[in-house]
Every structure is written in C-alpha cells, then in structure tokens.
C-alpha cells in the first residue's frame, strides 16, 4: 500500500513536471516546403528541394519528402527558401532603450522592457527577419544587458519572445555618444576617449575586487563559528564579473579604428575574448586585428557622415572585413531597415563583389555566430530551428519580395494573408494611433536627454 502511494506520487510529480515544461514552451509548428531552391548558406544551393520542419526543428532536407499529416504542405516551386534573417543590432519592440543616467549600467536588462505589442515585429517578419538582437543604447560606456529575441509575434508575454538558448550579451559604447552624454552633458567622466577606456578598465578592476570579496565571504561562512558577514550586493559589478568570466558576449558600439583597437587591448588585458564590434565604420583599417581577436564586426551597408566620428567610411567595409576573415554581419539599427536586410546584404555585391553565399551569410549565419546561436539557427540544416523565409525571387535580387516567414515552423507572415491591421493591442482612447502617422525610430540614442541642450534625441546613431 505504502509502495503504491509512493508510485502514485512519483507519477503525479512526473506529470506535473511534464505539464510545467509544456506550459513554459512557446508553440512549435510542423511544415513541409516542397520544390524550393534552397539557399542553405552553409551547404550550398539545393535545387528542387524539400524542407520538412517537425515540432519547430528542421527534420529533413531532401527530395520527395513526405511529412506527417499534421504538417501543412507548401508548394514553393520556382521560389527561393533561405534561413530566417538575423539582425545583430536592433532596438525594435523595446519600451526603453537607454538608461542614460550613469556611464556604467551593466545591471540593467533589456529583457525587462520588451514590448511584444510592437507592430514593428510583424513588419520585420514581413521582411524576412526572424531573430533580432535587442540592444541597449549607446549612451553609456557600458550599457545594459541586451536580449536575443525570436519574433514570435502574437504572444502577449514578453518572455515568449526571448530566445532561451541564446547566451547573455551586453552593450558597450565608445567615442562620441558616451562622452557627449556624460562628459559634456553632466560634467562627469568620460569626457574624452581616454575617459571611456578608464571607465571600462576601472569597472573591470572593481568587478575583480568585488568577486574576491564574495569568494572570501562564501569560503568563510561555511567554516565553524564563522564571524563572516555578507558584503553588499552589487548587480552592476556582478555583471561585469560575469563578463570577465566569459559568460557574456560584448557587443560594442564603435566607429574609429583607434578606439576599436583600444577595446581589443583592454579585453586582451582582462582575458575577455567574447567581443563583437557593431557599426565599426573604420573596421576595414583594423581588419586583421578584428579577425584575430574578436567574434567579428556587425556593420551598416552604406551609412555614414551623420556625425564627426563617422566620416571616414566606405561601402566596401563589409567586403573588406569578409575577405580578411572577420566574421561580418550587416545590421539595421532601425525599425525600417530591419524590413529589407536582404537589400542591405546585396549591396556588398555591388561594392566588393561578394558571392551570393558570402552576402547571405552577412544576415544569417554570421550574425548567428556573433550572438552565439549558430548551432541553432542561421542556416538550413537538419537539426536547426525551423526559421525560414520564402522569396519569389532570389533574395539578393532587387525584385525579391518575401512571401512567407516561419519561426519555429510556425507561419508568422504570409503575403496572401496580410491583413491591413496587424496590431495586437489598440488604445481605447486614441482615434489615430501614432503607428499610422510615422515609423518611430528606436535608435542607439533613443530617449537620451541631453541636459545641456534640453532636447530629446531620437535620430542619432
């Protein structure tokens, strides 16, 4: 009898675990896409090929596949199938971008301010983007912890958008933005590029001391008759310590070659090798160094001259970096550009003559590598997640229009079922919501008040 009860108990708890597990999961879909020209990115181009996604995972890539009954079959004859586009630098679907009040704000987490109701997510999906890296802004030398999101539009729960498999990331920023916000704006460090370096080095050193304090306490408290008292908790220093321990990938806003090389050296001094540079307009000058010491560079295709530090730029940047062996991606940093990153990638064929595969890698497998998620996404391979886009033309053609977008095997966009109003939440008191009137730019300096000028910046990168 007693044994029985125990068994029942075990079964019950197993059931409980199972349901909890199910409850925590986001929906996964089944789909069979037939006869497409499959641009795998990592394994060449496969003509007349089927891709079968089961429970959100690519189960089979091959010919004449048949799927289980519950999978929708889509005829993609004459169409092109590519992996979901990945944007390594975005501020879309975030309620707050900058905590611009301190030069180091490593403790803040963008995951806290995800806005799943942003219709921009749907617009990005309509442009084939399935994953975006929601970054803290560039107001601070060390900004907040960023978040890798899968665009599972339709959920009301912000945590459903989080890509749980993705490692932690954090934003750093060099140059004019942090020096203007803090130095000019509030008369505190950093006022110059030297100050930015000092802020970062001091932060790292303090984190080392902080970690030591806790290590000493944790050791002492276990001992007999311990008199140890806990040190103060500091989420900011704890996060910096986590960076030093290799648990967090740095994504650093940067333009000039000298400051890029500066941060490479700082990171080498502290044994940090998980480092990606973003913007990197002068990256072409330090390409070999970027290739050797970092996880790559995430650049604009052809965007510059919006402030002094961004004048020395070239549209050949991505191509030069690629040819030098730097893991290179092209990002949007814009709610509008995120809708046609395939055009942005195609520009590298005009400026630098990259191959189709190289160009597509800039918006798929390479950003996946920079976010530490390349084992799950970024190419069409069996075992990877079913994030896929169907195009009517080759995605690098100027005529290309995305037809369908899948995330985890679930169709999130279909050009034939594209309702006019895709908003999830509507204000009961606004006749015309701003979403109709303008595209809100959520950019690097979004929401930063420059106290010297009394203006709120919305359009500076």
């Amino acid at each position: 009898m007693k044994k029985m009860r125990k068994l029942t108990y075990i079964i019950c708890s197993l059931c409980l675990i199972a349901t909890q597990h199910l409850g925590a999961q986001t929906p996964k879909g089944n789909v069979l896409i037939k006869n497409a020209t499959v641009l795998t990115v990592t394994q060449g181009t496969l003509e007349n090929t089927d891709v079968w996604v089961q429970d959100g995972i690519i189960k089979k890539v091959g010919q004449d596949l048949s799927a289980s009954k519950d999978a929708e079959t889509i005829d993609a004859t004459g169409k092109f199938l590519m992996p979901g586009i990945i944007d390594a630098h975005s501020h879309l679907a975030l309620d707050v971008v900058n905590e611009a009040t301190a030069p180091i704000t490593a403790e803040v987490a963008i995951a806290d301010v995800i806005n799943p109701f942003d219709v921009g997510i749907y617009r990005a999906l309509a442009g084939g983007t399935t994953i975006a890296h929601g970054l803290h802004g560039s107001a601070n030398a060390i900004g907040g912890q960023s978040i890798t999101m899968k665009y599972r539009y339709g959920t009301r729960n912000p945590s459903d958008l989080i890509m749980k498999e993705a490692p932690r990331t954090i934003k750093f920023a060099l140059g004019e933005n942090p020096t203007r916000v803090h130095g000019q704006g509030k008369n505190i460090q950093p006022r110059t590029r030297m100050g930015v370096e000092a802020i970062i080095r001091n932060g790292f050193n303090e984190a080392l001391q902080y970690e030591k304090k806790w290590e000493a306490y944790n050791q002492a408290k276990g001992q007999k008759n311990s008199k140890a008292v806990p040190p103060a908790y500091n989420l900011r220093l704890q996060t910096l310590a986590d960076i030093l321990n290799g648990e967090i990938i740095i994504h650093c806003h940067s333009y000039r070659a000298d400051e890029i090389y500066m941060l490479i050296n700082v990171c080498r001094d502290f044994g940090v090798d998980k480092l990606v540079f973003t913007h990197v307009n002068e990256g072409f000058k330090v390409a070999p160094e970027l290739a050797k010491y970092t996880m790559g560079a995430s650049v604009f295709s052809d965007w510059w001259a919006y402030k002094f530090e961004v004048y020395y730029s070239t549209a050949y940047n991505a191509a030069i970096l690629t040819e030098n062996g730097v893991i290179t991606s092209i990002n949007s940093d814009s709610d509008e550009l995120i809708r046609h990153l395939y055009h942005e990638a195609a520009k590298t064929q005009r400026y630098g003559g990259l191959s189709d595969e190289q160009a597509l890698a800039l918006i798929t497998i390479n950003p996946a590598k920079q976010l530490g998620i390349d084992e799950y996404v970024g190419s069409i391979e069996e075992g990877k997640q079913g994030d896929l886009v169907i195009f009517d033309h080759h995605p690098l053609s100027v005529y290309a229009v995305p037809q369908m977008t899948f995330v985890d095997g679930i169709k999130q966009f279909d050009i034939n079922e594209d309702k006019d109003d895709q908003r999830l939440k509507v204000s009961p008191t606004e006749r015309v919501e701003p979403v109709y009137l303008q595209v809100e730019e959520e950019s690097c300096m979004h929401g930063v008040e420059l106290f010297t000028e009394g203006t709120v910046l919305h359009h500076s990168y």
């Binding site: 009040t101 301190a102 704000t105 403790e107 803040v108 987490a109 907040g144 009961p428 606004e430 929401g447």
Partner: protein, 558 residues
Amino acid sequence: MIKRLTTLMLLVVMICFLDTPLAIGQSDQTGQRRVTGTYVITNATVITQPGKWLTSTSIVIKDGLITDIGQNVTIPVEAKTISGDSLFVYAGFIDLGSEAGVKRPEEAEKPEHYDPSNPPNEVAGITPERSVLDYWDVSDGSIAEWRKAGFTIAQLLPKGEMLPGKTALVVFGDTKSTNVLQESTGLFAQFETVRGVYPGTTLGLMAKYRELYKNAELKNQHAKLFTSNGNGISRPEKDKSLEAFYPVINKQVPVVFEANEELEIRRVLKLQEELGFDLVLMDLEEGSNLSSELLAANAHVALSLSLPDDKAKEADLEEATEEAKEAHKRVVEEYDVALSQAGKFEEAGVKFGISTNQVKKDEVLKNLRLMIDNGLSEEGALAALTTHPAAILGISSFAGTIEQGKLANLVLTTDSLFSEESKINYVMADGYLYEYDISKSNKVAGDPTDLVGEWKYTAETPGGTSAGEIRFKESSGNLAGEIDVDDPNGGGTVTRPLENISFDGKKLSFTFSIQVQGQKLTVQSKGKVEGDDFNGTISIRDMGEFSLTAKKTPDFKF
C-alpha cells in the same frame, strides 16, 4: 481567539474614546461636541454584506461600534434616531488606494556637486522609510468629499517616485480624532523616476529595485547575526531605506506596487517571482487576461476606478474613409474590453478591491455602474467596495460588513446603491454621522443649455478695456467653450479653448491660457450667471483681479 480579538478591539476602541467622555468633565464651551455618540437607524433595508438583504431592520451604534442589529432592538434612551424607512444601509466603502489629504513631500534638495549617476536615495525618489501619515492632513477638505462619496476607510498612498514610502490605513472620521487604524500596511512602489538621475527609466528602476531588495536581505541577515552574537561581528551600518524593506522580507507587509497596464503588471509579477515578496497590485486598468498568473502568484488586486474616456469611441466617422472606419472598430472593441475588465476579473475568481486615486469623486458610482453594465455583478461591485478590500487588508474582523461588534462605518442611500436614481443620504464614519442634502435633483450641475450660445464680454484691465466673444457648446452633458482674446503679442485676436468649466446653474467658472512672450499664463474667471448676464472677474496669477461682464447674444429661432 476570536473572542480575544474582539475584547482587544473593544479595548482599543475604548481607549480611543476615553478622552471624549472622561477628559471633558464640564460642559463643552465651544458647543461643538456632539450631543451623543449613540445612534439608531430604524426600519431600514440593510445589506449586511454582498447578497445578504435584511428588511425592516434597525441598527444601534454606540461610540463607534455597531452594538445591535435586528428587527426588535432595544433603543438606548440617549440614541439619536435616524428614520430609515426608505433607506438602504451598506457597509462603509473601503478604498485600497487613496490620496485623500495626502501631500507631496518637498522635493529633496540636491547636494552641491552631487553625481547624478549615483545620487543620494532621497534625490532618486527612494524613500521607503517615510510614512504617508507624516504627509497626511486629517482636516483636509478632500477627505470630507470622499466620505460624501461613501468611503469610510482608506489605505493611503504616499506621493513620490520609485519608492515613496509606507502606506497606512485610516478611517475618515472626525477631524479631532487621529483616525489611524494601522500605521504601516505596505511598502508602496511605482514605475516613476526622477528626471535626470539614476535610475531614470524602467530599465534602471527594475535593476535598482532588485539590488535594494537583495541588499536589504543581506543587511537583515547581518543585523540578526549582530544581535544574536555580537562578539566578532562587525557593526552593521544603519541604512533607513534598506531597513524599511525588513517587514516586507519578513512577510509582515506586502509591497503595494502600482501598475496600470498589462506590461507593467507583468514586470511586477516578474520581480515578485524573482524575489518572492507578498504583493498588492495597485491601480490596475487592465490585466484580467492575467488572472490565472495573479492567482498563482497570490497577488491581491486593486482595480482602478478610472475608465478610458469615450471621445475616441464616440468619434464622428460619417465622412471618414473605409480604412479609418475599420481602424475605429478596434477602438470601440478595445473600449468595451476596458469596461469589461472588472467583470472578467470577477469571472476568473480574482477578489479585487478598488482604488480611487486616479478618478474624480463623482465618477465612482458612475464608473461602477458602467462596469456593471459590462459584466460585473452588483454583488461583485459591492464586494469590491467592502468585503474584498477588508480581506485584502486583513481587517475583516472589524470592517467590511454590517455586523454586531464591527466598526460603525455605514453608507445610507435612497435607493439600492447601483440604481441610477440612488443618492447618498448619510454616511457614518467611525461612529460620526454626516448628513447630505438630497433635496436637489441629481443634477447638481446647472443646466448647461442655459449657457450654450455666444456671449459678448468686456473686461477691464490695467491695459484698458478689451472686448470679445465667448462661445459655449454642450455635448452629452459636458460643457465646452472658447474665448476670443486680444493677442497679447500684438495685432488681432486669438481664440483659446476654455478649460475647467464648472457651472451649477448660477456660479460659473472657467480657465484659459494665453502665451505671452513664450510663457504660458493661465487666466481664471469666475462669477454669477443671471438670465443672460454674467458678472464676474478674471484673475491672472500675481497680477490681480479685474472685472469681466458678459451678455448672451439671443439666438433667434423662427
């Protein structure tokens, strides 16, 4: 246990009243002391709790307590009688989130050369150690106004930013009493930050909240070590902000967290899940779709009585495009969803109370009726005003229902509470009786049509006489208007909208603003309307008062 509590209560109440009968041994020279603290309400319809009606019932009240209730009660000789024949008696309403009589503390002074990235707690809006009672004025006029709306017990919310202070429970009784029921009922938290200092946004606020909470836990641990075995333990540095968290950490009081929208509610639930505090969610305007999460988190809910305005919903779309009409359908849908939140919470089994700090007094019953029209049961509405908040506050033993031994907080209405015609005739709070004039019709405000039309005005100002036109319009009982004034920046006239229009049939007041050299000046006007004549004044802050007269232009109707 219950008996002991009751005895304790009685004792407490007796102590409260000691000074009334004993301390004043001679006749009251001011003549203000009430003749008796004993009342009887005879022969009324008594709703002792939601769904439970007693007819022809009398209630005896003595010195702040309900001492007897029934059809055949013994009426003490000293009792003042309120004839309740046509009245409905309800338990006094309980407000989970009130700002009645609560002042905003003065802004903290910023130290010289302070670092905005690391400001002192006061400067950053972090003052959990403050008690709202230190900023509460028991004689503030708005308390009487809220009492007139039926509220007798309220949880006061301190004003401020991220962590403004501790909430407290008071009764809206006589101004000579302290009226305090509980000095600390919770730690108030909001998604509000101080401009220009850390933390400046929701991002920083949530991180700061986590850090404060964790440090309070550690400091609490340190302090306990020090008191239990001080030898060899370093002195814990005092920190009033962190110490204010101790009752939360020790599960003695909840965090009262203001969250209006769904995403804010989710953020609070996330913090609660991480840190594990008891939670009262304050001022909810949506979130019934999160009912199961709220129940699972054991979070209590105070629904805001504020409802969205219907301007967008009622917009005239006759000449609009099809696209605009389609978009408007969703506005209407969403408006209905907002009004049905209370009903949906009820359906999901969330026992919510209400908060008033975001509504005007005259909107309370109006909005509750709207909620009832959209799915909330009348019992549910009454429970939200009485039994549910009492349970949430843990004061059911002495408040929330009409029962012998409970505090004498009552609302007497002329009809069942939620019927359109119902008016509040009496409110008894803390055993004190307040009577309200019900002779006037429901329309306390004057007939707005008396004003509608064009008025020619002249105003005498130091700059000379100026004249122009005021135009009043009316839509669904609300007055709107505009005024033509000489452009102070020279040349021509400008038309400004009238704001804060108030008209009771006789007295009229309104404000409007003008721009003078880039500065906004608010002009106030008030006076009396008699027939087609308005005699009044206009005043501009610091500039004095000047006369303004106006005459209505007759509208010609054929």
